[in-house]
């Protein structure tokens, strides 16, 4: 027997209260884990999509804070950018979130410049690619095909235009697997945004260095007022939705921490009130105040540790469940990291210890004689 086993025994002796406390902590931690992994997943999914395409820089409107920045006429800019040193290729891209049919959840529709490098990283599983820039056809990501229950030869309707499904592809990026892919010209026609793009993707040649990319950034900044050349990471991090998701996860962490600490605090106060006499006995038997404090803090830390472990497991399951819901499927790839889980566990134990300190001090300060008289 040691102090830890004694603390554990005390918790097991009050199973209902211990379980409720652990559940409350677990709920808070689960919310933190689920929301944070989703927020990170949202950010990572977009970055992964940009990285998979081999894009080095993205030209967008300076003030645009959206995952799909506001469209602009891209032809003139494209020509200018293509002449910068070490720029191998510039490709326009127009994205929209559209519903396909009445029952379908909103789905990403990407319009990519026909014949551009953007298409190169995709693996065609079935069918073929569009034959020209104006062919009224679509290729579907594997996940999109599954969600829409469409296969080669079927038709989909986008904003009043009917397109034939001619291919199914696979990408290393979840966002693309869950998308409908059409040519840029077809996308401009469907969305009634002639000649417009959300972004221009720049691919540097193989000899390009960081300095060359910086030069392009500077040139865009100097010569194209209102536009900026940024990396995919920078584009994602300035995304308002990502910012809101992260802010929500931070607020959740704050609320979960406060609630968790208060729950532990309340539980330990009740426990000490019930065990006043027992604490008096321990004092009479020669236990120093420090040992009594340590025992109480061990109990609160154990509650928080268990709540943290369960919360992390539930949070991961919740995030997996969320990313598979009809609305989220193919859009978010939840990110689970061991360092994050360990940090959350550390936070949980910290709030447990924090919530247990005052009750522990209270217990340690009890007068032995008064504690023994307590009924």
């Amino acid at each position: 027997m040691n102090l830890l086993s004694l603390a554990l025994g005390n918790l097991r002796h009050r199973p209902a209260r211990s379980s409720l406390t652990v559940s409350a902590i677990a709920l808070g931690i689960a919310a933190v884990v689920a929301l944070t992994t989703i927020a990170w997943g949202f950010e990572a999914s977009w970055q992964k999509a940009n990285d998979a395409r081999g894009t080095d820089l993205i030209v967008t409107r300076t003030g645009s804070q959206n995952a799909m920045p506001s469209p602009f006429v891209g032809a003139a800019l494209l020509d200018q950018l293509a002449h910068y040193p070490h720029v191998q290729e510039v490709a326009g891209l127009l994205s929209e979130m559209l519903s396909i049919g009445e029952q379908s959840p909103p789905i990403f529709v990407f319009g990519w410049a026909y014949g551009s490098y953007l298409w190169d990283h995709l693996k065609l599983l079935q069918g073929r690619w569009p034959a020209d820039r104006n062919e009224p056809v679509a290729v579907l990501g594997v996940l999109a095909a599954e969600m829409l229950h469409k296969s080669i030869g079927d038709r989909i309707e986008l904003e009043g235009q009917t397109l034939q499904v001619i291919g199914i592809f696979q990408s290393s990026a979840l966002v693309e697997n869950g998308a409908v892919l059409i040519t840029l010209d077809r996308a401009q026609s469907i969305t009634d945004k002639p000649n417009k793009v959300n972004v221009l993707n720049i691919k540097m040649d193989k000899t390009a260095t960081e300095a060359d990319a910086s030069f392009v950034k500077e040139q865009v900044s100097k010569t194209l007022p209102g536009f900026a050349a940024i990396t995919s990471g920078e584009l994602v991090s300035r995304n308002t939705v990502v910012k809101i998701a992260k802010a929500m996860s931070h607020v959740t962490i704050l609320i979960a921490t406060l609630v968790g600490a208060l729950v532990v605090f309340n539980t330990m106060l009740m426990s000490i009130n019930e065990r006043t006499r027992e604490i008096g006995v321990l004092q009479a038997l020669g236990w120093p105040r420090s040992r009594i404090m340590y025992m109480i803090i061990c109990e609160s830390a154990m509650l928080a540790l268990l709540g943290g472990l369960i919360g992390i497991a539930v949070g991961i399951l919740l995030a997996i469940g969320l990313e598979h819901t009809e609305l989220m499927r193919g859009k978010i790839d939840a990110i689970f990291s061991i360092p994050f889980c360990l940090a959350v566990l550390g936070l949980s134990v910290f709030l447990g210890v924090g919530g247990g300190i005052y009750p522990a001090r209270m217990a340690a300060r009890l007068s032995p004689a008064q504690a023994l008289r307590h009924e």
């Binding site: 004694l6 006499r277 006995v281 009479a284 038997l285 020669g286 236990w287 007068s367 004689a369 023994l372």
Partner: protein, 239 residues
């Protein structure tokens, strides 16, 4: 903790008493309630002293003062010549020198009999094996060798009190304070517990101070102290 005699008066036989209580009072409610009121008492090493008296006469309060669970309002208590007021760590003092036996046993319900006996030495420098073997040996001496791993809820009242007596002895204390140890037991168990307590005290030469209402127990004591309105009256030898 080494106790260095300071200013306690020696007994008439020249030996320093284990307890020298001088004009000790314990007042509550700003002096309006006097639980203990000017008690003077000396108890020799190895003596068995019974404290009796009506309810509210201050017996348990005096025992709490002797056990350093309460601080006297005035007066001083000396343990082997060392004044309580000069002891910096009272918890350590209790853990080294005093064993407690309570009327309601006060065992920890989440621990087995063996673990309950080990509680006072938990966190000491003793090895786990030493704690365990000493506790098992004490419980065997109490006739509970086959009940080591039973929890208090599964033990009879007499068995629980025997566990509590074993617990009070694990530190080899010089002084055991028993507050009506048979008060919650039937007569058969009360007799068994009393015999074990007195037998252990004789075997280990422990000083025993026992609060009791039971005249038959007082009769077994070396000396009976009668408490009345917070004051003590020595009634001389018990048995």
């Amino acid at each position: 903790m080494k106790l260095v005699p300071q200013s306690a008066q020696p007994s008439p036989d020249g030996a320093t008493p284990i307890l020298d209580i001088r004009n000790v009072s314990l007042h509550f409610d700003e002096g309006r309630a006097k639980a203990v009121n000017g008690v003077d008492l000396r108890i020799a090493e190895g003596e068995f002293v019974a404290i009796d008296g009506p309810s509210g006469s201050g017996k348990s309060s005096l025992l709490n003062l002797i056990g350093a669970l309460d601080v006297p309002t005035c007066g001083e208590i000396y343990f082997r010549g060392q004044p309580y007021s000069g002891i910096a760590d009272m918890a350590l003092f209790r853990s080294r020198h005093i064993g407690f036996v309570f009327q309601t046993f006060n065992l920890i319900p989440t621990l087995s009999a063996l673990e309950n006996v080990m509680i006072p030495v938990l966190g000491h420098s003793w090895s786990a094996a030493r704690q365990r073997s000493k506790a098992a040996s004490l419980l065997s001496g109490m006739g509970l060798a086959d009940r080591l791993h039973c929890f208090p809820a599964t033990l009879s009242g007499g068995e629980r009190q025997r566990v509590a007596i074993a617990r009070s002895m694990i530190n080899d204390p010089g002084l055991i304070l028993a507050d009506e140890p048979t008060g919650s037991l039937d007569s058969v168990n009360a007799q068994q517990v009393l015999e074990l307590l007195i037998g252990s005290r004789e075997e280990r030469q422990i000083t025993l101070v026992m609060v009791t209402h039971d005249r038959s127990i007082s009769a077994r004591a070396d000396r009976v102290i009668h408490m009345h309105d917070g004051r003590n009256e020595s009634l001389g030898e018990g048995g």
